[in-house]
């Protein structure tokens, strides 16, 4: 998500929004760094955050498909942000109360950030949905395009610290309220692409990684 938001640098519809999107990117990146470092330590194979971020191929990434989708227009980026944060807020809230102290600490910080992200996503969804005829049409199209990718977020995984299936209720409630206020229609459930958690990604991810990893990989073993 941070990588995709980074693509917006100096290209947002308003200068204030350049700042806001960079803020969100920084939060997402910050949480990712803490989680990757922890994962690397838990693995015990000596991989740090950079080894995990820059030296894996797309088949080894476990991210949900939603975050690797291209940015599209501003409406699509907002739809991704709304859905992601409406999932991350209850997720981090639950993790913050979990037994793993380090994970709980990371989540406690990320939860507050997610609340801000959700607020930002909500505010823009409403503005665009209830703005002009054009923005309404675009925002509805964005919601329709991104919606199928939300199903994957809640695939049950009883082995996870928090079973994602348990977060669906909170997500649905949040989204229903935001879409209603935005005069937008919640898409029907149907096609529900999946595979990200098993390393089966869209064709977009390998392009994203080619760009993200190019400098790091061109200088094996270098410090930055």
């Amino acid at each position: 998500m941070a990588q995709r938001l980074g693509e917006w640098a100096a290209a947002a519809p308003e200068m204030e929004e350049d700042i806001a999107l960079a803020n969100i990117a920084l939060d997402q990146l910050g949480a990712a760094r803490l989680l990757l470092s922890y994962a690397g330590e838990a693995e015990g194979a000596g991989r740090d955050e950079d080894a995990l971020a820059f030296l894996r191929d797309d088949r080894q990434f476990r991210n949900c498909l939603l975050v690797e989708l291209p940015n599209g227009d501003f409406g699509q980026t907002i739809a991704k942000l709304l859905f992601l944060s409406a999932y991350q807020l209850p997720l981090y809230t639950a993790l913050a109360a979990g037994p793993d102290e380090r994970l709980a600490a990371i989540a406690a910080k990320a939860r507050k950030e997610s609340a801000y992200h959700l607020d930002h996503g909500r505010m823009w969804t409403i503005r665009l949905g209830d703005g002009t005829a054009e923005s309404h049409a675009r925002m509805q199209a964005a919601v329709d395009a991104v919606w199928p990718y939300t199903a994957e977020l809640f695939a049950s995984d009883p082995a996870a610290p928090v079973d994602p299936a348990a977060l669906r209720g909170a997500f649905d409630a949040t989204v229903a309220e935001v879409l209603a206020e935005a005069t937008l229609t919640r898409p029907a459930d149907g096609w529900a692409p999946t595979g990200g958690r098993d390393g089966l990604h869209t064709e977009h991810l390998s392009f994203l990684l080619a760009e993200m990893q190019v400098v790091h990989r061109a200088h094996p073993g270098a410090r930055w």
Binding site: A2, Q3, G6, E7, A9, A10, A11, A12, P13, E14, M15, E16, E17, D18, I19, A22, N23, A25, L26, L29, G30, A32, R33, L36, E49, D50, A53, F54, D73, F74, G75, I126, R127, L128, D130, G131, T132, E134, S135, R138, E211, M212, V214, V215, H216, A218, H219, G221, A222, R223, W224
Partner: protein, 315 residues
């Protein structure tokens, strides 16, 4: 007392002119122009560095770079706000940028070709900006001076980060070292040119000095920058690409080769390597965002209307 006298006495006493004070029209215009160009530079300056956000070679560097580019947007906003205290509005100034009637710093018309350029921009370009801007913190117009204090504080942070990037590269693999030297080779003279034409050819300087908007001449500032860089380059272990650079005991300063001012004029005129690209990018971002800004305005209008409609019911 006449307002003109008041103005002159404030200037003479090294105090601040504030938005509600009377000021000569020339002073106002001159400030608007300078502050707006400064704001435009921050906004356009996001592009060359933003170019490397997606490719930063470590997550830490990516975070630092994102924050830096974000700061630049923030600087742009303070500066537009400072200009607005002089009775223009941001939209108007942005329009002058987009239609090419107002300029931004020419340095941003050079391309960032490698990751090391992010370091070189931080060290040299931000370094030059700081040398230029520190005196502006004492400039006679209050809102500008205060904006500059905040900007300079962040810029010096950015400069240190750039220095760190170069230091790491210069002490890294041979490939990294070569990348760092290459970046310094390309950014050195354009950075020197940031101080503007030599004093003899500078048009706006005299008046600006009298009004205490500007406090040192282009050449003085350039010299200060060179002297500062030489020592830092030694610490970095990188070479400044000027064979004639040497200490002059008499002047107690470094002699150095002047940048190519003809090139500077060409770049200012619009013929630098990236002028068209930067402007197209900015225009495209502005055009692509039009529907979003319109939506926000329409939504705000609807809300205001609804609030008004609800009032009588409540009464």
């Amino acid at each position: 007392a006449e307002p003109q006298d008041h103005f002159e006495s404030v200037i003479a006493a090294d105090q601040k002119i504030e938005p509600r004070d009377w000021m000569p029209e020339d002073y106002r215009r001159s400030l608007v122009r300078q502050i707006a160009q400064h704001a435009h530079s921050e906004i356009i300056g996001m592009q060359p560095e933003g170019n490397w956000i997606t490719r930063a070679p470590s997550l830490k560097r990516k975070a630092i770079l994102l924050a830096k580019v974000q700061d630049e947007a923030g600087h742009g906003l303070y500066l537009y706000a400072a200009a607005e205290t002089l009775g223009v509005d941001r939209e108007e100034l942005v329009e002058l940028l987009l239609n090419g009637r107002q300029k931004y710093s020419s340095i941003f018309n050079y391309p960032t070709l490698t990751w090391a350029d992010v370091g070189a921009i931080g060290w040299l370009v931000d370094g030059a900006a700081i040398v230029n801007q520190v005196p502006l913190c004492r400039c006679s117009y209050g809102p500008y001076a205060r904006a500059m204090i905040r900007v300079c504080k962040e810029e010096s942070f950015h400069q240190r980060q750039g220095y760190e990037i170069l230091h790491t590269l210069a002490h890294g693999t041979p490939g990294q070292r070569a990348m760092a030297q290459d970046a310094v080779d390309r950014w050195w003279y354009p950075s020197l040119a940031m101080f503007g034409p030599p004093d003899a050819d500078s048009t706006h300087s005299a008046k600006s000095m009298a009004w205490k908007i500007k406090r040192f001449s282009n050449d003085d500032l350039r010299q200060r920058f060179v002297d500062m860089c030489v020592q830092q380059a030694e610490a970095l272990g990188l070479r400044i690409p000027d064979p004639d650079l040497r200490w002059n005991d008499e002047r107690q300063a470094y002699d150095y080769t002047q940048p190519d001012y003809d090139e500077l004029m060409r770049v200012i005129k619009g013929d630098g390597p990236c002028n068209r690209q930067r402007m197209e990018h900015r225009r495209r971002a502005h055009a692509d965002g039009a529907w979003v800004r319109e939506a926000a305005a329409a939504y705000a209008a609807k809300r205001a209307e609804r609030a008004q409609r609800e009032e009588p019911v409540a009464a």
